[in-house]
């Protein structure tokens, strides 16, 4: 197939500009309205059948169009609302509330003459009466004592899995339907037969979309647009019904499948992820031996598909390249590099790029990555260490044959593509808050509310038994948290996902992916994001130091914490001067390792709604900031309402010896237990890299950063497996903010916050300042 890569690229860029000019996202609401309209026709159907039935109606009636600049048909616009707080300029840390209203999303649409407040209210009122919302509301109500100041938080997890599209691309939806029918014949279990019927129906939705898009394409195929739209119409006549025969058809098939998958979960199924796109698409590129340039041009349109409206609202959708197989062979291919080319040239805020590395990753990949790290305002990939991830997953029970298929859902959670329903963001644990409550004998020092029962003990008793009590409180909170989290998952099972289930092992299991009783996917778990690791470890050491050096100040400490150190600067300074994690100081590093280990064990001992373990995930996707706002002063010297440490990183400013020392501290953490993932970030000053070209700098980056952190041959422990970086300086970012026209003429200046990347200029001011602060360049100094 002939591709004019220059023209195709220009069209992709124009298409992105069009997308960014969209200020409204009403599709999710319209789809709900269509569902409501036809609900009466579903009387007597199971929830799964009903979902599939309504999905077809939505596919038939939702308004659709194809841009003149599109080479592919399809959008995920109709699945997302303008909701995601961090890229909302109105977001303030102070407005974050732990308590959650599941119908708040209706507030994200500005009523107008067409979509009136009345229409919005009608659907909202209807939603409120659904089993899902009623059950979920009950869960939130029951947990309010703990969630209002975020001792923990829970959520029902939509999105956040990696569908396996390979089979669908290869054989097509018609063949999938035949497989379902064949499996249906093999069972007499009524429940499974019903589920299979729902899956069959749901797959029709994508066929309906394809036919409707084809009609539009044919209408548009006139004049100088004839070739472009005839090609599209031809592809739509073939896919996704049948298997793809080249890269063009494969991408088209993929896009439509993705569209329906998201629509099924509207609104806001964040963080669905692609997986190893290079491995998915390479067989099709090879079919007509498309060049790297031509493949990159088509991929540019795929990338634009992941950007929704003015702020790219569909956040945290992750695309991966690179990696190895279980024999250690590198799996990078031509599509890996074509995808990198597409990313670099487009520099879009979504989808997130991740790169899997391993100790035998070819230098060529590092060379090609150099341009991402060292071009100011360019997106940077997050980096995964296959050598470690394989070990972690193996240890968690993942079969050998599935290891190479791990991918990242959202920011950093490693799951098996097409097989793992991990409910990754199901629960959120706030160790900082638990420590505060332990020290204050159960009363919030933020609001004065009692959250945990009192013991009535004096300061010295509390401090002397601090660890024991902290862990006991952790145990108690974790039990409450997992109870609520399972409640949220069960509530969500009222919204089955037959379409997605066909891409997640449902064709084999005969169950919905969200089935709360039968496991629909080969792997299942529930995530727990654990916050505040290093500040707790630092606090323990500070308390030890105080008890040893000035035990008479025990009561003074408790009072100072309650008063946020007001009037006690001396004690505050003393505590700040105590040893801190991140400087390669054994006593405090070992403490951090122990906190991580103990808490991870407690979390992993809890069972989810299907009896599978919760997965400890030491990451804090900007919640170190929002949850930190609800945490009082702590003995490490951190003041009330300040941010907590990010992921497994030291609190900003605490690690000041430079990169090697910080890395040595990080080696001590028990990564093997972090099977839900973890987060770590290095802000790095580009001036340490002196290579003359991007390629040389890429190799320098490998040698100076990645070799020591991921692939250090002298590290005898399991090495860290995740890192994202921002290679810049605070001065540079301040310049960008002060003069965006000069430093980011395109209006896009990509930065990373936690696992995702964002347009720095789109962020709320609080998050912009957080990024600048957390560059924390003192913790990553190198010699030069």
């Amino acid at each position: 197939m002939a591709i004019n890569h220059q023209k195709t690229t220009e069209m992709a860029k124009e298409l992105f500009r069009e997308e960014r000019s969209l200020m409204r996202l009403d599709g999710w609401f319209l789809s709900k309205e269509i569902g409501m309209k036809y609900e009466h026709e579903t009387e007597g159907m199971s929830k799964m059948r009903r979902t599939a039935y309504l999905l077809k109606k939505i596919a038939a009636e939702l308004p659709i169009s194809i841009s003149d600049n599109a080479v592919f048909a399809g959008t995920q616009r109709d699945a997302f609302a303008r909701s995601y707080a961090l890229i909302n300029p109105a977001f303030r840390v102070e407005t974050f509330s732990g308590y959650c209203d599941p119908t708040a999303v209706f507030g994200d649409i500005e009523p107008n003459e067409d979509i009136t407040q009345e229409r919005l209210d009608t659907v909202k009122a209807h939603d409120k009466e659904t089993d899902y919302i009623k059950e979920l509301t009950k869960v939130y109500d029951a947990a309010e004592n703990y969630t209002k100041e975020v001792a923990f938080f829970v959520e029902q997890v939509t999105g956040h899995v990696i569908p396996d599209m390979r089979h669908a691309l290869k054989v097509g939806v018609n063949e999938m339907k035949r497989e379902i029918e064949a499996n249906m014949q093999k069972t007499d279990d009524a429940e499974r037969i019903d589920a299979y019927k729902a899956m069959l129906d749901s797959l029709d939705a994508v066929i309906i979309f394809a036919a409707r898009y084809r009609e539009i394409a044919l209408e548009k195929a006139v004049g100088d647009k004839a070739e472009q739209f005839n090609r599209l119409a031809d592809a739509l006549a073939r896919v996704p019904a049948e298997g793809a025969r080249n890269l063009f058809e494969a991408i088209q098939s993929f896009i439509l499948m993705w569209q329906v998958m998201c629509l099924e979960q509207a609104p806001n199924p964040f963080a669905f992820s692609v997986g190893n796109a290079d491995r998915i698409f390479e067989p099709y590129r090879a079919m007509d031996n498309l060049s790297r340039e031509d493949a990159a041009a088509l991929f540019k349109h795929l990338l634009v598909f992941y950007n929704v409206a003015d702020r790219s609202w569909a956040i945290s959708q992750n695309l991966i390249v690179g990696g190895k197989d279980t024999e250690g062979n590198d799996l990078t291919n031509l599509c890996s590099y074509a995808l990198l080319d597409a990313y670099y040239d487009m520099n879009l805020p979504q989808p997130i790029l991740s790169v899997k590395l391993h100790k035998n990753t070819p230098d060529k990949l590092y060379e090609e990555l150099g341009r991402f790290f060292f071009t100011p305002g360019c997106l940077t990939p997050s980096l995964f260490n296959d050598d470690s991830v394989f070990e972690v997953l193996r240890n968690a029970g993942v079969a050998e044959c599935d290891l190479a298929d791990y991918s990242i859902a959202g920011c950093q959670e490693p799951l098996i593509m097409g097989k793992d329903n991990a409910n990754t963001t199901n629960s959120w644990l706030n160790l900082g808050k638990i420590l505060e409550l332990t020290l204050s004998d159960g009363v919030s020092t933020i609001t004065g509310d009692r959250i945990l029962p009192a013991t009535g003990d004096d300061a010295i008793t509390i401090l002397k038994n601090l660890r024991e009590r902290f862990y006991a409180n952790c145990q108690f909170i974790i039990k409450e948290m997992t109870k609520s989290a399972n409640g949220a998952s069960r509530a969500l099972s009222n919204l089955p996902v037959p379409f997605l289930s066909t891409l997640m092992g449902g064709i084999q299991s005969g169950y919905d992916m969200r089935d709360p009783v039968h496991q629909g996917t080969p792997y299942n778990g529930s995530g727990c994001l654990i916050h505040g690791l290093s500040i707790v470890a630092d606090s323990f050491i500070a308390v030890d130091t105080l008890l040893e050096e000035r035990p008479e100040d025990a009561e003074r400490l408790i009072k100072a914490l309650a008063n946020d150190f007001a009037g006690d600067d001396e004690l505050h300074e003393y505590l700040l001067g105590c040893k801190k994690y991140g400087n390669n100081i054994a006593v405090v590093d070992d403490e951090a390792a122990e906190v991580a280990s103990k808490v991870a064990d407690m979390v992993a001992a809890e069972k989810n709604y299907l009896g599978n373990p919760f997965r400890p995930d030491f990451s804090s996707p900007s919640t170190h900031l929002t949850y930190g706002y609800w945490v009082g002063a702590l003995p490490d010297g951190r003041k009330a309402r300040e941010m907590m440490n990010y992921g497994v990183d030291p609190l900003f400013g605490d690690a000041h010896q430079g990169l090697g020392f910080r890395v040595l501290s990080s080696f001590k953490l028990p990564y093997i237990k972090m099977n839900g993932g973890f987060a770590s970030h290095f802000g790095i000053d580009p001036n340490y890299f002196t290579g003359a070209t991007y390629e040389e700098k890429g190799i320098e980056f490998k040698n100076k950063v990645m070799r020591q952190f991921f692939f250090n041959p002298l590290n005898d422990k399991l090495a860290p497996f995740y890192l994202y970086v921002n290679v810049t300086t605070p001065e540079m970012l301040r310049k960008v903010l002060a003069n965006p026209k000069k430093y980011a003429p395109s209006g896009v200046y990509i930065m990373r916050i936690h696992g995702t990347f964002v347009n720095f200029l789109d962020l709320s001011p609080a998050i912009q300042q957080d990024i600048i602060k957390r560059l924390d360049l003192k913790s990553t100094t190198l010699e030069c």
């Binding site: 390669n584 054994a586 010896q657 430079g658 990169l659 090697g660 020392f661 890395v663 040595l664 080696f667 320098e700 040698n703 100076k704 070799r707 020591q708 250090n712 041959p713 002298l714 590290n715 005898d716 100094t781 190198l782 010699e783 030069c784």
Partner: protein
């Protein structure tokens, strides 16, 4: 015994092989106006922006030992400056203990001190500057004396050390034809026993001079790529091993 340093950090393959922990020791016996670490130049001066750390040899040793997992790819410790030999006794003790621990050692020195050879038995790598072979210029501009430098170089060669000679190439000081010819002649007897690396002038230290309240007097000191290449070619043609780390 204590050691004073003003900066430390890791680097890869730049101040010796592999990944290395580099300490910048305080004080220097020269006064190069291009120095990129002016905060460490004067042994008797301290600048608030650049605190000096003073530690016992024992504490420094434990810190280094705790960093062992970082010394991969043949890495280890590099002591640089300022000028290492100003604290020769403590440095010797430290290097000796490092060798006992099996840790790879390197120093980077201006090579002017007679104490330098006393460190040789404990060194895996010697990186030494020969900034100019023009005695007058070396003395008047940088406060250096050529004779002991060449004497130390000879001693290092005799001791069969792994030697890397650093030459900063600075316009107006040592980059013209005459100067490089002179340098070539001075180093020629050692050409088979050393590697040589030319370092093009840069302004890295400029801001620090300001922060220290000192005047940065360098002007028009940059050299062209052409000049750099020409110099390297000249030395290569004469049989030197020129490297770039």
């Amino acid at each position: 015994m204590t050691i004073k340093y003003f900066q430390k950090g890791f680097n890869y393959s730049q101040d010796g092989p592999g990944n290395r922990l580099v300490y910048h020791l305080h004080g220097c016996n020269m006064k190069c106006p291009w120095c990129s670490n002016p905060e460490g130049m004067k042994a008797d001066a301290a600048y608030p922006a650049f605190p000096i750390t003073q530690v016992t040899v024992e504490d420094m040793l434990s810190e280094i030992i705790s960093c062992k997992p970082m010394f991969f790819d043949g890495g280890g410790v590099t002591l640089t400056g300022g000028e290492v030999t100003l604290q020769a006794d403590a440095v010797r003790e430290l290097l000796k203990r490092l060798k006992d621990e099996g840790i790879n050692t390197a120093i980077e020195t201006n090579a002017m001190s007679p104490a330098l050879p006393t460190l040789f038995p404990f060194l895996d790598h010697l990186i030494m500057d020969v900034k100019s072979a023009d005695e007058d210029k070396l003395l008047s501009v940088a406060g250096g004396v050529l004779y002991p430098i060449l004497k130390n170089l000879k001693a290092a060669v005799d001791a069969k050390l792994d030697i890397l000679v650093h030459v900063p190439l600075i316009n107006g000081f040592n980059a013209d034809e005459d100067a490089t010819d002179k340098l070539l002649q001075a180093l020629l007897p050692f050409k088979d026993d050393i590697r040589i690396e030319f370092l093009a002038y840069h302004e890295y230290g400029k801001d620090k001079w300001k922060q220290c309240g000192l005047v940065y007097a360098m002007e028009n000191a940059n050299i062209s790529t052409e000049c750099y290449k020409k110099t390297v070619s000249k030395f290569k043609a004469a049989g030197f091993t020129a490297v770039r780390t």
